[in-house]
């Protein structure tokens, strides 16, 4: 797993994208699939920035290659908040024209697995994207 630490700030989304793109290029991930990894990594990172107030930078890890990529977020000293348990109400939000609340829906659509673990104040969020050869 390759891992980087990013400041708890949406301004770090740019450097996060650079990390994702460099990883995907080095591992032979197609441009179409790298785009999907980019979206998933941004949505998971942004979710932590918006909803958690931990003291440390947010750790983002990437593993895998052309057949699939795992995105793992590790966030220390944060409250328990399980993004996999958030109801998928995107259809209602769309009907009502609400601006927010689509990030986790995108993660769910793009990921074959979406997991949350919480232990001793550390949250680990994992999304696995898989593509057939």
């Amino acid at each position: 797993m390759e891992e980087r630490r990013f400041p708890r700030d949406l301004a770090a989304v740019g450097p996060l994208h650079e990390f994702v793109r460099a990883f995907c290029r080095a591992r032979g991930v197609t441009e179409d699939h790298a785009f999907e990894v980019d979206v998933v990594a941004e949505e998971l990172f942004a979710n932590q920035v918006k909803h958690q107030r931990g003291p440390d930078p947010v750790r983002v890890g990437l593993a895998g290659g052309a057949e699939g990529v795992t995105v793992r977020i590790v966030d220390r000293d944060v409250e328990r908040f399980d993004p996999t348990a958030v109801p998928d109400d995107v259809a209602r939000r769309n009907r009502e024209g609400r601006a927010g609340g689509r990030g986790l829906a995108l993660v769910r659509r793009l990921s074959g697995e979406f997991r949350y673990d919480y232990h001793d104040g550390t949250a680990v969020i994992t999304a696995v994207l898989r593509w057939s050869a």
């Binding site: 989304v13 179409d32 979206v39 949505e43 995107v90 769309n94 689509r102 829906a105 995108l106």
Partner: protein, 93 residues
């Protein structure tokens, strides 16, 4: 980097409309007037933050009796709209 330019009822979006850029672009989106064509030919990337700007603009213009059309979307950007179910809400051509 994300840019937007408005000319005679068409706003041209270019670059990457991610969470960081969406914060900066919010005021410009709120100033858009209808009827509006949103040219997405050079829009390379969009995440939920960018989708939120489009939804907000669409809701505001529709409430004012105006139209907003999205045109020339790149396939990857079009897919993101579809994953979010917005291809059935926004007018995508």
């Amino acid at each position: 980097m994300f840019t937007m330019a408005t000319h005679e009822g068409t706003v041209t979006l270019a670059g990457r409309l991610d969470a960081a850029e969406a914060e900066t672009a919010h005021a410009a989106f709120r100033a858009l007037q209808g009827p509006l064509v949103v040219d997405c030919d050079r829009l390379e990337y969009i995440s939920s933050a960018g989708l939120g700007l489009l939804v907000e603009a669409h809701k505001r213009l529709t409430a004012a009796g105006q139209t907003m059309r999205l045109v020339r979307l790149q396939p990857r950007v079009r897919n993101v709209l579809a994953y979010a179910g917005l291809d059935r809400i926004l007018r995508v051509e």
